[in-house]
């Protein structure tokens, strides 16, 4: 077997957005959040990701603004570095190497040049003990700076960033351990500890979950496991501290946050309700209910206008002044497990899997963006711990994408299993799926597999569901039964069983003429036309684990994997075993666009991938140790554009791309070198000059503008006619920016305004004549004070224009400099004239 070095396993999007508290920039235009190994910058208004700050080599564990410069942010990571970024341009300014994994980071305006980080105790890296350390960031011009000056502040702190906070003006830092609150005063170098009892009389748990400090007052708010919020005061004395208790949450308070002015306290928890308490009038509360999922973090923008909540379903919600949800940034929702298979929606080519409780999510792999959530259960979700909810456990698409079948179930301890099979029709008008039929209790027990196939007349689709109750059922769209007022609905067409065995897997052949159903060790092959049992195949010992028909030219083969570590291939023409090989295949799947099949094999805790054609004895591709642990979910996603790779090892990636989910819920894929190169090239192309979100519109218009600029450059060197435009526009700008009360009457301005729009012929001639002449510096000096104001404007304007062409464009050419100067000279002369006349 040959290893192909040019195919790599890469992470592909879908990383957590809610891992750490997001950050809203001081102008409220951007939202920064740690996401995997990079920091993502989102626009708060358009929800689009503007760029990624890439550089860290491990999980990013915190993003904080630099107190002295609001255009820069620090980010810390488990790779032991703190990096300083310019987030508007996405430039890495500095890297401070600390050397220890960092779990969280705190900064304060009062501590210039010092950051506080939480690292594991140095003595033992594996231990669960953490300490809070102050790090002096050395002043240095270098990109890479070693910061080794560490001084411990507090030992034995929680690694959770919410468990520590800086107090008023950075005078003290508060840290909560499971049952103890510790306040450290920097001036006194003294810390006070306030312990709580493990359980109070009513049985509520007093464990601290989060801490927040009032920005203007000596008050610390702590959240607790039992849903209480305590407001601590007077804690600069060991004995005379007081606290008051607020109680609304019925489950643990997971996040607390004071607004910048300290007038309100925000809290959130599992209930997914954002609660706003008035500071000092705590009986007044405002609620923002039904935010979708449990709140994990709350942040407020520095001006207090925007709130932002992170949710457990990998979502960030931006809220305008506690009233209106203005934007939702949604990442790939990954629960504890993927119950449904990975699927690809044949229409949108989006990956589909279960996401939020009771929803299916449609996730665009190409754009790394959640397209939409389809509400399957359609019931009010009750946010309460320990409550059994309906979950989407199975889903299947028909080949054309017209139908979607879903199974939802709920199992309570001592009640019957509740099962619903739902069939959704695609509606052209709304471009989404609409519920067509609900079948309650389609089977008496769990449904093990679900698949669509073409019916005998190859016009209608048929759905087959297999269940633990030993039956499999075929469902068909019944056009006959429907009455005038309702459309056609699905009904059961056939119920089958085989010797009372439990069916586990089912699979339709590509043309829909055969249906294979595995009953433990036995594979039965049925014809959907008459529902007759055609043949049985089996290869004991070991129950069948996976079943798959070959595609295209290999459609005569039926492949199956057994629990007895066998991969079998039957030839359906001869009804005999073609070949079999011994391997522990955890997942077998077929590429619908080619003959290739992929088998993930589990060997010694690692997963290997083999790609092969059923008709050929040699695997087309193999990759050892793709990841650790078993791979149980994978999918072949068709490519938007076919690759033209001729190399033998990469050909299997030409039509479609293989995505899989590791044990730790990371979405991975295989990418070839050529593809990566292309991606790199395109990412360079998309460097964005402005804060404008990267919308399709922008791409369209931006490109247009760029072209225009290029044209302009080309033209300006040839003829000076076009240079009249910037002059005119500058004049207009001047006119518009001057306050109305200092402007002269409109009649006076009008002629000048119109004149400024005209293309002056003399100018261009003059310029040609005085091409070599140095600009008249003495004239410039004559200009009035207002000139000063506008001169600050001009460089900006120029730089904005230049940034578009970005790094590619060299410093301004001589011609351009000249031009600029000329503009400078021309556009303000009329204002000077005005001033004279006005005075």
């Amino acid at each position: 077997m040959v290893e192909h070095s040019d195919i790599r396993v890469v992470h592909r999007g879908g990383s957590k957005l809610n891992f750490r508290e997001p950050l809203i920039t001081s102008d409220s235009r951007f939202l920064l959040c740690a996401s995997g190994q990079c920091v993502k910058v989102f626009s708060t208004s358009t929800e689009e990701c503007i760029h990624d700050l890439r550089g860290h080599t491990d999980l990013v564990t915190g993003v904080l603004p630099k107190p002295s410069n609001h255009l820069q942010v620090y980010s810390c990571s488990a790779d032991g570095t703190v990096r300083l970024w310019d987030y508007t341009d996405g430039i890495l300014i500095k890297t401070y190497v600390i050397g220890y994994p960092i779990y969280s980071m705190y900064v304060s305006a009062n501590h210039e040049g010092v950051i506080f980080i939480v690292t594991p105790m140095q003595s033992d890296k594996r231990s669960e003990l953490f300490q809070l350390v102050a790090v002096d960031l050395p002043q240095s011009a270098d990109q890479l700076v070693e910061a080794r000056e560490l001084s411990a502040v507090l030992s034995d702190v929680s690694s959770n960033p919410a468990a520590s906070a800086f107090g008023r003006g950075g005078e003290y830092i508060v840290s909560a351990k499971p049952l103890q609150l510790e306040v450290y005063f920097f001036k006194k170098h003294k810390s006070y500890r306030f312990p709580l009892k493990a359980d109070n009389k009513k049985g509520g748990k007093n464990t601290f979950t989060c801490v927040a400090c009032h920005p203007k007052d000596d008050c610390v708010a702590t959240g607790h496991e039992d849903g209480k919020i305590r407001l601590w005061r007077n804690f600069n004395h060991k004995k005379e501290y007081t606290y008051s208790t607020l109680h609304w949450h019925h489950n643990a308070v997971s996040s607390l946050c004071f607004t910048p002015e300290g007038t309100n306290l925000l809290s959130g928890g599992v209930e997914s309700v954002l609660v706003q308490w008035r500071y000092k009038q705590e009986s007044q509360r405002d609620f923002l209910p039904r935010l979708g999922a449990a709140i994990t973090h709350i942040t407020v923008s520095p001006d207090g206008a925007l709130f932002c909540t992170s949710h457990s379903d990998n979502k960030i919600t931006i809220i305008q002044s506690c009233v209106k949800v203005s934007a939702v940034i949604q990442g790939l929702v990954k629960g504890e497990s993927v119950r449904t298979d990975f699927m690809v929606d044949p229409r949108s080519k989006a990956m589909v899997l279960n996401g939020k409780p009771g929803h299916l999510q449609f996730y665009s792999l190409q754009r790394d963006k959640l397209l939409y959530n389809l509400d399957i259960v359609q019931q009010e979700y009750i946010h309460e711990l320990g409550l059994q909810q309906f979950e989407v456990v199975k889903a299947a698409f028909s080949a054309s994408g017209n139908w979607l079948a879903t199974v939802e179930e709920r199992k309570q301890k001592d009640a019957e299993l509740e099962l619903h099979l739902k069939l959704w029709a695609f509606e052209q008008q709304t471009q989404s799926f609409v519920l067509n039929t609900t079948i309650s209790a389609p089977h008496e027990s769990w449904i093990t597999a679900l698949c669509f196939g073409l019916a005998a007349d190859s016009q209608t689709t048929v759905l087959v569901s297999t269940s633990k109750d030993g039956h499999f059922k075929a469902w068909q769209l019944d056009a006959r039964a429907h009455t005038d007022d309702e459309g056609p609905a699905w009904s059961c067409d056939f119920v089958g069983a085989y010797h009372g065995l439990v069916p586990e897997r089912c699979c339709f052949s590509a043309d829909g003429s055969l249906l294979a159903i595995s009953f433990q060790e036995v594979v039965t092959v049925w014809t959907p036309a008459s529902w007759e049992l055609l043949t049985t195949l089996s290869q004991p010992p070991g129950a069948i684990r996976d079943l798959c028909f070959g595609q295209l030219s290999c459609s005569k083969y039926l492949l199956g994997t057994t629990a007895g570590n066998l991969l079998c291939c039957w030839n359906l023409l001869t009804c005999s075993l073609e070949w079999s090989t011994s391997m522990d295949v955890s997942l077998l799947l077929a590429d619908p666009l080619s003959e290739n099949m992929a088998a993930f094999c589990c060997q010694a805790g690692c997963t290997d991938l083999f790609v092969f054609k059923p008709s050929e004895p040699r695997p087309a591709f193999s990759h050892k140790a793709v990841c650790s642990g078993r791979v149980t979910r994978a999918v072949f996603a068709p490519r938007e554009k076919m690759l033209e790779s001729c190399e033998e090892g990469c050909q299997w990636l030409n039509h479609s791309q293989l995505y899989f989910l590791t044990q730790y819920m990371d979405l991975m894929t295989f990418s070839t070198k050529a593809e990566e190169d292309r991606l790199m090239a395109s990412s360079k192309q998309l460097v964005i000059d402005d804060s404008v979100a990267m919308t399709p519109f922008y791409l369209l218009l931006g490109k247009h503008r760029q072209q225009q600029q290029e044209n302009e450059d080309a033209l300006s060197s040839l003829s000076a006619e076009r240079t009249a435009l910037p002059k005119g526009s500058a004049a207009i700008r001047e006119l518009l920016q001057t306050p109305a009360h200092v402007l002269p009457s409109t009649s006076l301005l009008c002629s000048m305004f119109v004149q400024s729009l005209l293309i002056s012929v003399t100018d261009s001639r003059e310029e040609k004549e005085h091409a070599e002449n140095e600009p008249e510096s003495e004239k410039e000096e004559e200009d009035s004070e207002e000139e000063m104001e506008s001169s600050t404007l001009r460089p900006k304007q120029a730089s904005a224009g230049c940034q578009a062409t970005a790094c590619a464009a060299p410093p301004l050419t001589k011609a351009q400099v000249r031009e600029l100067r000329r503009v400078k000279k021309l556009d303000h002369s009329w204002i000077a004239g005005l001033l004279d006349s006005g005075v």
Binding site: L288, I382, V495, W531, T536
Partner: protein, 528 residues
């Protein structure tokens, strides 16, 4: 921020017949007026002219009733024995009737004494009718003959002796004065032409023919006999078109609705069935208290008159359009038109800025309470009398929702005697319903758990608990019986299905695992 998702009320497939245009039409009759006659009512005939009086032949009398009178407007009693088949002439002036004593009598509708007596039959005459030229009478008798009589001279014109058994039904053509049809107990229906002195078409019905009917176009003929109603195409020489078997006793009478779109058949099984004449499907069914012998529809279907063996005449009048409207208008009072269109017809001007009004989500009362987590109140709302009685599915859906939220016990607990008895009443009424059972069983268990300690404190509740127990026992027995039947059916099916060998691959045959037999049960339909 998503909006509150209301409780989902499960839609159950409607049991019973579906409401169609036909059911609405045929249900739109008032409660029947019942009149006791002297004997079994053998024939009813409507007068073709307004005011559409109808003659009712029962025992030795023929009564003529007005359209809305419950007393006969006229009575003919001059029969020596049972009278049969009193029929009006097309101008409504004359009435002819047969008699057990073989004499056929012709009456003036306004007179009392018979105008003519037609003597010649030797046995009882069960069939009489006027030929469409208005001057001849057709009779059919138990002496196997049918005859034509001349009214002015009271003489016999022709005798047909083709039937070999009693002639019990007959009808004359309304379009052609020479054609008539007779049906006999010899299982045949014969079409006679007076011009050729013999039958031209003979149709074999297969059972003694009780009634024949010609379509208004006279291209189709309907005959009834035994349990069958058959339709014949006369234009194709008497070819059988359809055979209907919807009654389980002899069909005695046939009738067409006024527009010819519906066919009615009455039977000894006490039903009147209404057929659609395009596809001959039963679209409606009337039930009567006794076996029906005769049936007639008033012109424009204004009333349905049915005569039964227990000598009761049942008359159903159509509800007038005002009456039916009145009921519907009472049900719903709409806001006046002025309120309705207020502001709707305003055309926005050019500079107007349209402030879109947010769509307000309407929530039902229990949903509002659920939204506020007032679980007990929500259950109370769902248990209100009207909901409980008329829409049990709402109550059950709310219970299910509470159970899903894990708060069913909280909602059920803390009720007083009255509240608990309401709840138990509901359970007793609906527990055995298979649609609701899964939810209600858990609710019942929860109630028994919660109120275990207070059993014996209230006589009302105790009585209800006993009833509940009885109900459960009965249900358990019933389920057992059903399972027994199912077992029996399975054995029957298993023995009747042929065993089929399934071809196996060589590999699989050697291991002996798959000695295949498809134990698949037949297609099974499931309601969705």
């Amino acid at each position: 921020m998503a909006s509150f998702k209301p409780t989902k009320i499960q839609v159950y497939p409607k049991l019973g017949e579906k409401v169609t245009q036909d059911t609405l039409y045929w249900k739109n009759y008032k409660a029947p007026v019942q009149i006791k006659e002297f004997g079994a009512i053998t024939n009813i005939d409507f007068s073709p002219v307004a005011p559409h009086n109808y003659s009712v032949t029962a025992f030795t009398r023929i009564h003529i009733y007005g359209p809305f009178s419950q007393e006969p407007v006229k009575t003919f009693t001059r029969f020596k024995d049972s009278a049969y088949c009193g029929r009006f002439r097309s101008d409504g002036q004359l009435l002819v009737a047969g008699c057990e004593d073989s004499v056929v009598r012709l009456f003036d509708v306004s007179g009392k004494v018979a105008l003519r007596l037609f003597k010649g039959h030797t046995k009882a005459v069960h069939v009489t009718d006027f030929i469409s030229d208005r001057y001849q009478v057709l009779t059919g008798s138990d002496d196997y003959t049918c005859r034509l009589w001349d009214i002015p001279n009271a003489t016999e014109l022709t005798t047909y002796q083709e039937h070999t058994d009693y002639i019990r039904c007959g009808v004359t053509s309304k379009l052609n004065s020479d054609l008539f049809v007779t049906g006999s107990y010899d299982h045949t229906v014969k079409l006679f032409d007076a011009r050729v002195d013999k039958s031209v078409i003979t149709m074999d019905h297969g059972h003694p023919v009780e009634s024949v009917l010609l379509y208004p176009s006279e291209g189709l003929l309907v005959s009834a006999g035994g349990r069958y109603v058959k339709v014949w195409d006369l234009l194709k020489g008497g070819q059988a078109l359809v055979s209907l078997k919807n009654h389980h006793k002899t069909v005695t009478c046939l009738c067409l609705s006024s527009n010819g779109q519906r066919l009615l058949s009455a039977s000894l099984d006490r039903h009147v069935k209404v057929y659609n004449t395009t596809n001959y499907k039963v679209v409606h069914n009337f039930d009567y208290p006794a076996s029906i012998l005769s049936l007639a529809l008033a012109p424009d279907d204004e009333s349905i008159v049915v005569g039964m063996t227990n000598s009761i005449l049942s008359i159903k009048h159509r509800k007038s359009s005002e009456e039916s409207k009145e009921i519907s208008s009472k049900q719903r009072r709409r806001p006046s038109y002025r309120v309705f269109v207020k502001g709707k017809n305003y055309m926005p001007k050019q500079d107007d800025y349209l402030v879109s009004k947010p769509v307000k989500q309407h929530l039902t009362k229990y949903d509002k309470q659920l939204k506020k987590f007032n679980v007990s109140k929500a259950l109370d709302t769902a248990l209100e009398t009207w909901t409980r009685m008329r829409k049990p599915e709402i109550t059950v859906a709310v219970m299910k929702e509470l159970e899903r939220r894990g708060t069913l016990k909280n909602a059920l607990a803390g009720r007083d005697e009255q509240g608990l008895s309401h709840l138990l009443n509901f359970l007793i009424g609906n527990l055995a319903d298979p649609r609701f059972a899964p939810v209600l069983v858990t609710a019942t268990e929860a109630i028994l758990d919660i109120y275990q300690s207070v059993i014996g404190q209230s006589a009302v509740v105790d009585r209800q608990l006993l009833r509940l127990q009885e109900l459960l026992e009965k249900e358990a027995d019933y389920q057992q019986d059903l399972l027994e039947v199912l077992g029996m059916l399975d054995t029957i099916f298993a023995s009747s299905l042929p065993r089929k060998e399934v071809p196996c691959s060589g590999v699989s045959r050697s291991n002996g695992l798959a000695q295949g037999e498809a134990s698949a049960s037949g297609p099974q339909l499931q309601a969705t």
